[in-house]
């Protein structure tokens, strides 16, 4: 399973893997928003938590279809499904690899982008904390979505349509925890809810995603 994790991370980081793509997309979204809403610092600072969370979410979405598509095309997904390693474990490792190559870089890069949006300084720590807690949920939910659409030729758009509604609770609690933290309020409740969602999703969805892949490989 560690071998699968390392393999997937290598594939993601080498040429054509689209490693930097998510980060670049995140940067562009954050840069575009001030062009859209105007350069007033006060307004930008107020909406910064929401923009950063939505931007990170969309950047996560961008690389989801790579999780299974290439393995499905060249047949290695069939091999993985019949391998002695449980498919659930493979799926979890793939989701983890997705997080390590997408969610984690986004989390680290986010504070730098927060400067661009003039976010209150109290929020920088919370930004890293909420994204670190929340982005694993995004990767694991996205892996389920990718498993649903793996057999489809043009699944990309459908994948977004399926996954985005599932992202709603994570986004709400993540952005709310960050907003409250940035404005100096108590944010333990949304933070715990966010952590609860991540824990539940990481524990349960690999099983569902593995079942979904078995249906698709039938």
């Amino acid at each position: 399973m560690i071998a699968i994790l390392i393999r997937d991370m290598r594939l993601a980081m080498r040429a054509g893997g689209g490693f930097g793509l998510g980060l670049a997309f995140f940067l562009i979204v954050v840069v575009l928003v001030p062009f859209g809403v105007g350069p007033q610092s006060a307004l930008l600072g107020k909406i910064a938590p929401g923009i950063l969370w939505v931007g990170a979410l969309l950047a996560c979405l961008l690389s989801l279809d790579r999780i299974f598509a290439l393995d499905f095309e060249d047949g290695s997904l069939d091999l993985l499904a019949t391998a002695p390693v449980p498919l659930e474990g493979v799926v979890a490792m793939k989701a983890l690899a997705h997080w390590l190559t997408t969610g984690l870089p986004l989390t680290i890069a986010a504070p730098f982008l927060a400067v661009l949006l003039n976010m209150p300084e109290a929020g920088f720590g919370w930004l890293v904390v909420t994204l670190a807690i929340g982005t694993p949920a995004l990767s694991f939910i996205g892996t389920f979505g990718a498993a649903l659409t793996v057999g489809l030729k043009r699944g990309g758009l459908l994948l977004s349509l399926l996954v985005l509604p599932l992202y709603v609770p994570t986004l709400i609690f993540g952005a709310e925890a960050l907003r409250r933290g940035a404005e100096g309020f108590d944010n333990i409740t949304p933070l715990l809810m966010l952590a609860g969602i991540t824990a539940g999703v990481v524990a349960l969805l690999p099983f569902v995603a593995a079942a979904t892949i078995r249906i698709n490989l039938r």
């Binding site: 389920f144 649903l148 659409t149 057999g151 489809l152 699944g155 459908l158 349509l161 399926l162 985005l164 509604p165 599932l166 709603v168 609770p169 709400i172 609690f173 709310e176 907003r179 409250r180 409740t189 949304p190 809810m193 969602i197 969805l205 569902v208 079942a211 979904t212 249906i215 698709n216 039938r218």
Partner: protein, 248 residues
Amino acid sequence: MLKGRHMSFWEYANPKLFMQTSGRFLPWFASLSLITLVAGMVWGYFLTPEAENFGSSVKIIYIHVPAALMAINAWMMMLVTSLVWLIRRHHVSALAAKAAAPIGMTMTLIALFTGAIWGQPMWGTYWAWDPRLTSFLILFLFYLGYIALWEAIDDPDTAADLTSVLCLVGSVFALLSRYAVNFWSQGLHQAASLSMDKEEHVSNVYYWPLLLCIAGFVLLFIALVLMRTRTEIRSRRMKALIARERVA
């Protein structure tokens, strides 16, 4: 109905028996729903007084509330039929779920639109990010994704399996969203004060025609689901016939 006394509910999973029975009951459901709807609407629209604070705009309640109820109940029905398909592999069940989805989506849209029309004179706005409204918008997105997944997959059994899984996972997340939205909208926004608890507002004058309209919508939903399921079964048979002819 020779073996009527020993028949279990699961025998309706047999498409032939389902077609026979549903064919017999469909006209009843359809005409009953028409009668109750017309009676409820006429009673509600013409024979009840106008409310003090609401004027005549209150009467949209006779469409809004039943549609909203059916929007949720249709998803519940899809959840149950999806489970039945996953556990017992009855094709009729999967097709019923498929048939119910567009109806549920339409009900969600009706609830959203009538709510917007009602909201304008009452709240001064067509839309507010109130928990109830937001949850319905999210429900609409879930319906969209579910229907799109059915459309995207060619193999009928794979499509039934995958949409069933999506329905189960989606139900959990829809419930989570409902609570998340409740939490979010009371957090910094104060829109929750806009939300009216409908039950508290409805006085007895409106209660009975409303109940009649709800019954009408339930019957209408059953009739539509039966009709659409029958259509699905027929189109499945057509495909089988065409495939057989091609082989011959």
